[in-house]
């Protein structure tokens, strides 16, 4: 098992004195799908931003033993540029990297198609539904071919059906591209369905209080949600989460 991302002793205190994270340790191995769950405000989004380099930890280190991998980030909001079409939005990371227009165009088209939006290349964000916007956002994160995908409650605002469809599509993309995923959510069922490991955080200041290893079948669909195995997993995550709440404040 090769470690891809390692957070060690991470603490984060904001300028206003709020201590968001205290001594968080987390190693993520290559090709793992790790969910970070915890009550809201436990610093899981902050931990993700620190892993992405978007925020600086007050103490501790972020390291990538085999070098910093190409990283994609999917935010809670789709964060699309309303003046660009879906295709042009997906192309942005490639443009910023200075990749030639033609090449970038082709790669964006593929990414959009893989995210299930073939035929919507020229649609503007306002013409897309919530689920389609999120798909565009995922396609954009995929466009540069990331090895590490960081996702911050990406499906929280979606209806249950869109959410389940996106869960399955995400698993397919992660498997095909051999991606490592660190996924922040507060949904017990979502984390159980998606992850090979669920990491539970305490309320603020957040740190890791429990880890649940799951072994879901590599190819799963909606029927997996009805199995005893899934129910057991969900119960373990749920119990750990309740235990974590007890450790707060």
């Amino acid at each position: 098992m090769t470690i891809l991302l390692s957070l060690s002793g991470i603490s984060k205190t904001f300028d206003n004195g709020v201590e968001a994270i205290a001594r968080l340790d987390l190693d993520v191995a290559e090709r793992e799908f790790v969910s970070l769950v915890g009550p809201s405000g436990c610093g899981k989004s902050t931990a993700l931003r620190i892993a992405a380099g978007l925020a600086r930890p007050s103490a501790g280190t972020v390291s990538f033993p085999n070098g910093r991998p190409e990283t994609g980030f999917v935010f809670q909001e789709p964060a699309l540029m309303p003046w660009r079409t879906a295709l042009a939005n997906v192309r942005l990371p490639l443009e910023l990297r200075g990749i030639a227009r033609k090449d970038a165009e082709a790669r964006s088209r593929t990414a959009l198609e893989r995210a299930g939006l073939k035929g919507f290349e020229d649609a503007y964000p306002r013409e897309l539904s919530g689920g389609m916007k999120m798909r565009t956002s995922i396609a954009r994160a995929m466009a540069a071919g990331p090895k590490l995908l960081l996702m911050d409650e990406p499906f929280a605002a979606l209806d249950e059906l869109s959410r389940q469809a996106l869960n399955d599509d995400l698993l397919t993309l992660a498997r095909e591209d051999q991606m490592t995923v660190l996924f922040v959510t507060h949904s017990v069922f979502e984390s159980t369905y998606l992850s090979s490991r669920v990491v539970v955080m305490t309320p603020r200041p957040g740190r890791v209080t429990a880890e649940i290893r799951l072994s879901p079948p590599p190819l799963r669909d909606v029927s997996y949600r009805l199995t005893q195995e899934f129910a057991d997993g969900a119960r373990r995550v749920s119990q750990a989460l309740r235990g974590a709440m007890g450790k707060g404040a």
Binding site: T71, F73, M81
Partner: protein, 261 residues
């Protein structure tokens, strides 16, 4: 049908008002040096056609040149402000002073400095001063109103300041800038008029001068003709800028969604 009504209704209303105006003026024998009817204004317009057109052209030039300079300077300074808080803190109060000091009180000073033999230059400066601020303040606000998620995204991919400005801030600020331009377009015309009013004589040749001149001679019909042309300039500027706004925003911006259907 709805589209036709949109143009037909204001036209019909205009004709009705003109007819009522003419009727009332005749019915109550209003003297022509108080309120001429439309039938008296039209001959005044045709009789002075060439001088009015020269004045129209002068006023248009002054307004457009001042507007163009205000646009470029306002945008440039807004970009500086968006890059540097220090620059904004140092300069913004002075931009405010420029804006809040009534232009009509400053105009005589500018005329003296520029000289009464160059009223059109003074007019450009005065129009520029009033047109500058709405563009500066709107563009500054727009450049700052960046979606924080998008800013994170740009940072994640190591975007340079230039890339952030060009691909994120400027397109995002476009609706604000265009709104500022619509206000400035109207203000530039006011500035051009103020300059000629304050000059009162000298080499002024714009429409405002025609209004002053006609008023002094009690040629109220000619005054109305010049006033009508001034409104015309304002209307042309406004709709030209509205059209530009539509061109640039209609594909993507929420403001162009008609939700009344």
């Amino acid at each position: 049908m709805r589209a036709a009504l949109k143009y037909l209704l204001p036209v019909l209303l205009g004709i009705a008002v003109l007819a009522l105006w003419e009727f009332l003026v005749r019915r109550y024998d209003v003297p022509v040096f108080v309120l001429p009817g439309p039938s008296a204004i039209w001959p005044a317009f045709t009789a002075n056609f060439s001088s009015l057109m020269d004045s129209l052209w002068t006023t248009l030039q002054v307004t457009w040149i001042a507007f163009a300079i205000a646009l470029v300077a306002g945008l440039a300074l807004a970009i500086v402000f968006a890059q540097s808080r220090t620059a904004e803190m140092a300069l913004f109060p002075y931009a405010v002073i420029l804006q809040v000091t009534p232009i009509i009180a400053v105009a005589p000073l500018i005329l003296i400095w520029v000289g009464y033999e160059h009223v059109e230059r003074a007019a450009i400066i005065i129009a520029l001063i009033v047109a500058f601020f709405p563009i500066l303040s709107n563009a500054t606000l727009g450049l700052r109103s960046v979606d924080p998620g998008l800013l994170d995204l740009f940072r994640l991919y190591g975007a340079s300041r230039w890339q952030i400005l060009w691909r994120l801030q400027l397109p995002g600020a476009l609706p604000y800038i265009l709104a500022g331009m619509k206000i400035s377009g109207g203000l530039a015309l006011i500035g051009a008029v103020v300059a000629e009013f304050v000059a009162g004589s000298g080499t002024a040749t714009g429409l405002a001068w025609r209004v002053t001149e006609a008023a002094n001679r009690l040629e109220i019909s000619k005054m109305f003709a010049a006033l009508g042309l001034l409104s015309f300039v304002g209307i042309v500027n406004f709709y030209a800028l509205s059209f530009l706004e539509w061109l640039m925003l209609h594909r993507w911006h929420e403001s162009t969604f008609d939700r009344r259907e």
